[in-house]
Symmetry: D2
Subunit: 275 residues, 4 copies
């Protein structure tokens, strides 16, 4: 049993929650708790064991919590995702493999590509692939078409696995807090297009990758995971891109693992993560 | 206010503890909790705020805890350490600098060396240095002399900062669970003497350092912190030793920070660490 | 054009080789050179550009080199590998994906499994899968059967991608210096079976993975690549295994990239690697 | 013997240089070579052994090199540095310790502080400390005073070890390519003041440090070394600052090691580094 709560902080919350659980005969296995003192915000994630006969109802927690509390009990164990891609295969292939071997923590419902080069790999894994070219469509038309396909699957999350089109606020609003992107730089360095070329020009000694929620501001959403690896003067922008693929894959996989196992809270432009 | 408890696990411990604190008017700022299911062992570390008038007494917690509970309330904020060295300076100098700038989390009471090459640096920082050569003494005599000097300072911990003499079980027993060592390898690889020569001969691509509590079995005590760095075929054993110094310094500093801020539990041959 | 030479060291080798290339009208793009002073051994790897009309022949280099020189000019650009597996999918799937997208630097000729659970993923990528159970066969019979299938493909390398059977010296001799293994620990720590259980029992704070050539001594062959990641007290042996999969995959991929791009020299029990 | 050359690239440079050395009876121990193809620029660093009777003169190399060649033979083995500080001790103390134990690769001639809090630690190591407050002086006056003190020591490099004043182009020009700074972020992220506060506000999951040459553009000079470490939601800006000190110290130490051992070429806004 997993219980997730986010609310205004006040004295006695841990005591209240653990007391309510004890009273309900539910045994706490682990409890992660964090208070953002600046924002006066309380976050808790509880893993617990309940005898088969014991259920926990939101109504048992509501009275002891501030009225702004967001309570989630037993979040959906197996979520659904739709993946958006362009031409690069590495993040998608990693997701398809984990999906196939049931270690993703979600089911891939479908893949949408604005190019068709990744159609075959999806077919090999029996995953529906929708090819929606952006070329004959206006941006609003393209996004509407993509959004409509997504909606037919009712996914919990939309994953941008090296999807190289910038999304409008309208599209983002349609799937608010449900879009996760992998950006090929250590944000906030090298926002926008061609981060590896920017990195090469700046002569950095590390390159990075960042997985984040997508908000209206380009590459400015809440960060979930980041990683860097060393590079040296001998790396061309092309070499950086190749090396970067390995951490893009790893960082997106980590971010999905965290999000899909209900370990990420979003608050303001930040994430609280209980690993 | 810091409260540290280790005991047998049972249902309701978090609830009981947080309830007792709430009743005492003490507000939990953060609570780290861990249950070792195999060993059925419960560990908790609480940081809390109490109004000036409110005190917490062990007797308020004892009734709600199993009878084997080890309870520590407000551990000594400023501990004392004695450092044992041989000839290498890097770990000692780092400790002396942090001590001087009051960021060590402890006071260095004295340094004992079986060589005198590090006497001058201690003098520059006004730290007593005791030179006890092992050359004219039997091992028991040497250890007794060292132990007696240590005892005059009544330190909380004895830190082996590249002390190159192997300590007997008698000595270890005298300062049981109070001796911390930095070993220049990624334990359990390369136990014993000359780990860098061993690492070089094996042709490893990473070298490491390990900080651990000292027990009777050489290099076998509970591990507190470890780190590795890359090396390549061009590194001689000497080059590895030089590069290794940087992580030896960093790993011992990290281990001391954790231990001196009461973040490390020892149980069986293992540590539970709340960072 | 790639030129690789390993020989006894002596004065003037770089000058001799670069002079011979200049005389042949061949332009050096990059030159990696290393001398093992203890072993008095010289290693060089040259990337060069030759006009279409200019060829380089071993006979142009032979006269200027010691008589023990091993010279390789333009090693096979696209090698063939056979992969041996048991039940774990992660390393194999990574290899199959890279093979499919032509970024492996080799062609996967076939996969051999002593269990059949990975048959389907191979089929999806149109890679022949040979199921050879070890259960009805003696060890020599099993190894002969595996070796015979390997031989039908004449691979350049045999990759043990989490193949959980220990190979006899006879088998290793049959494919000497052509077998690459991924071991799920930071060798030489935790040699042999169940390294994650060993690591958990020892209470380490890092776990590792090691890719190495296989020799007669179990887990003792020349190391190609190693990596570690942090773990903490909360990790069960099972959790370590899960986390370890990510670095096993990454380390084997890195080792294969190096070996398949002719960047690894083996000498005695060590590797010289020009990245 | 160390030979360092930077020039326009052309065919036959390695052959020409190694030939000239062979002819002079000088044996190459190691040779690091790099060609920037975009800029058509050649960089080489040779470590060699010469019999006592053999000397190498620039005139033996000049004829075989392009006319823009910058040749350095046997750069000064022991350089002099002046260190500029404000209030933070960690980088300075690390430099003073290495200087004292003769492992810095340079001699610290003096320390200049715009506050006096680090005077005592310098005194303990017998290093001259010049206190030049910026408070009663205009910026040009302050910089002139600092520059004049620096000049009395004729240092090879000026090291900004957490010096918190922004330097004018006039000052930078006075010590062009001789000023090395440690910036407390992963540049180019968080340029300018308060990078840890910026990092905290952005909610990053890694913080970094960057050592670089100082040019006229704030935090835009050629990067020498960078490193990152993980942080999480629980880190305040203050916690990030504390954790960051460890990598600031390590990164500046690494950069100084590289620069002081003549392993860094600067070309345009970039460094070529032979580690």
């Amino acid at each position: 049993m997993i219980i997730i709560i986010q609310c205004r902080d006040r004295v006695g919350l841990v005591s209240g929650i653990s007391g309510a659980l004890a009273q309900a005969g539910i045994n706490i296995i682990s409890m992660d708790e964090y208070v953002d003192k600046t924002e006066n915000r309380f976050f808790v994630r509880v893993e617990a064991e309940a005898p088969a006969s014991r259920l926990l109802d939101e109504s048992q927690l509501r009275p002891i919590l501030p009225d702004d509390a967001i309570i989630t009990i037993n979040p959906l164990p197996e979520k659904k995702i739709v993946v958006l891609v362009t031409k690069e295969y590495h993040c998608l292939a990693d997701i398809l493999v984990r999906n196939y071997f049931k270690t993703l923590g979600a089911t891939v419902s479908a893949v949408i590509g604005n190019h068709d080069v990744l159609q075959d790999i999806c077919k090999r894994f029996d995953i529906p692939f929708h090819y929606i070219s952006h070329e004959q469509l206006s941006k609003p038309e393209f996004e509407e078409a993509v959004g409509d396909v997504i909606d037919t699957y009712q996914p919990d999350f939309v994953v941008l696995a090296k999807f190289m089109r910038i999304l409008s606020p309208t599209f983002v609003a349609r799937f608010i807090r449900r879009i996760i992107n992998i950006h090929h730089s250590f944000l906030p360095a090298f926002i926008g297009a061609n981060p590896y070329r920017q990195a090469h020009e700046r002569g950095v000694k590390l390159i990075g990758a960042t997985a984040h929620y997508v908000t209206n501001d380009l590459d400015e959403g809440p960060i979930i995971a980041q990683q860097t690896i060393p590079v040296h003067h001998g790396f061309t922008a092309q070499d950086m891109m190749k090396a970067g693929r390995e951490i893009e894959t790893a960082v997106l996989a980590k971010a999905l693992r965290l999000v899909l196992h209900d370990r990420v809270f979003v608050y303001k432009n930040r994430t609280v993560i209980f690993e």
